[in-house]
Amino acid sequence: MELRLGTINLEPKDLAYVRALVRLFAHTEKLSWSFADAAPYHAVVADPGARAANPGFFAAFEGLVLTLGHLPGQSAADTVAYPIRANQFRDWLKLRQDSLRELLHRSDTPAMQPVMEIAQVVSTAAPSPALVKTSQAGRRYKLRRWPPADLLRGDSGAMRMATFMSRNALSMAQLAALTGQPEDTCASFVAVLHAANLLVEVVAAELAPETAVAEQAAPVRRGLMASLRRHLGI
C-alpha cells in the first residue's frame, strides 16, 4: 500500500528537499511513501513554527508528525535538526512505515483516520513538480563538493548525474540528455543537492573559455566514448 506524506508550512527549499528525498527513497530504498500535494496524508512533515503554535493539536498525532528543527520538550525521535540529514529522514520514514503497516493489519484499529483529519484542517502550500522544474529552467549547476555517501547510497543513476555535474555546469536538459535520466529525476536530484548546499549556480557569462574547444571536439570524442563503453561491455 502506498503511504502519502504531506507537509505543513515548510519553507520552499525544505519542501523541495523533502519532496526530492521521498522520490529518491522510493527508488533506492523501495519505501512505500509518496509525496502528496494535497490531503489525505498518512503522515506529515511540519515546520517548527506550526507545531509551536498548536502544540495540543499536534500532540494528538504524536509519532506521525516529523518536525524540522528542535523544539524543547519534543521527542527526538520525531525531529530532524537542520541541516536536514537524508539518512535521518530516511530512518524516520522507515520507522513510521513499519508502524503504520502494523496498525493497518489490525482490522479494528482506524489507524489512518487521525492523520487524514490533520490533512483536512491544515492547509499546505506545496508547489507542483512542474513549478519546481520551471523554476530551474535555464539555470546551470555544478557541484561544489562530491556528495556524501549517504546521499548517493551507491545508486548508479545518482552517481552518474553527480559525475557530470562535478565536471561542468549543466542545465537540467543537458543533464537529462547526458545521463539518459528523465528530467523529473534530474530535477529531484538537483533539488536534493541544492538543499544540501552542494551546488553552485553558474551563469552563461561565467563559463570557461575552453568550452568552445571542447564543443568542437565533441563529436569525435563521443564516438570514442561509445566505442570504449561497448568494448568494456558497459
Partner: protein, 180 residues
Amino acid sequence: MKEYKLLITGTMGAGKTTAIRAISDIEPIVTDVVNHDSSVAKARTTVGLDYGMLSLDNGDRIRLFGTPGQARFDFLWEILARKALGLVILIDNSRPDPLADLAMFLDGFASQLARLPCVVGVGRLDTHPATTLDHYADALEARGMVFPILTVDVRQRADVVSLIDTLLGQIEAGMALDLP
C-alpha cells in the same frame, strides 16, 4: 587509427597493475621488480610503469599506463599525463595516512588536474573504514576540486569497469555544452 591514453596512478600496492590486467586486451607489460621497501608488505612492485591496451571496434586504441607509485618518480607523472584522456587515482585505505597519499597525487598532477578528467578509487575501505569517502570529498573540497570518489576492489573487473565508466562520464561532461 587513433591512439589515446588513460593513466592509472596510486601508491605502492594500491592495485594499478591488477586494475590494468582486469581490462586490458593484452597481458600487461609490467616492470615490477623485487620490493626492498620493508614498509610495504608486497614482494614485487611497480618502479617503472605498467602498460596495457584496449583495441576498439573502430580501430582506435586506448593505451593504459600505470605510473610508478612513489613520489620520487613524480617527474614521470607530468610526462605521462600529457595528452592523456583522463586519470584514475587509486588509494589504498589500509595505509597509515591515505589522505596524505591523495594529497601527494593531487600535488604531483596539480598542473594537469585543472583540465584533466579524474576519478578517485578507494580500495580496502571495507577492512579499513576509519577514513571514509566523505573524508576524501572534504579533502578535495578544501582544494576547490570535485572528482567522483568510488570504492573499488581492483580484483573485481566490474569495479574497474565502473571506475573507467565514471571517468568517461567526466570526459563527456567536459564536452557537454553543445547540448540543448
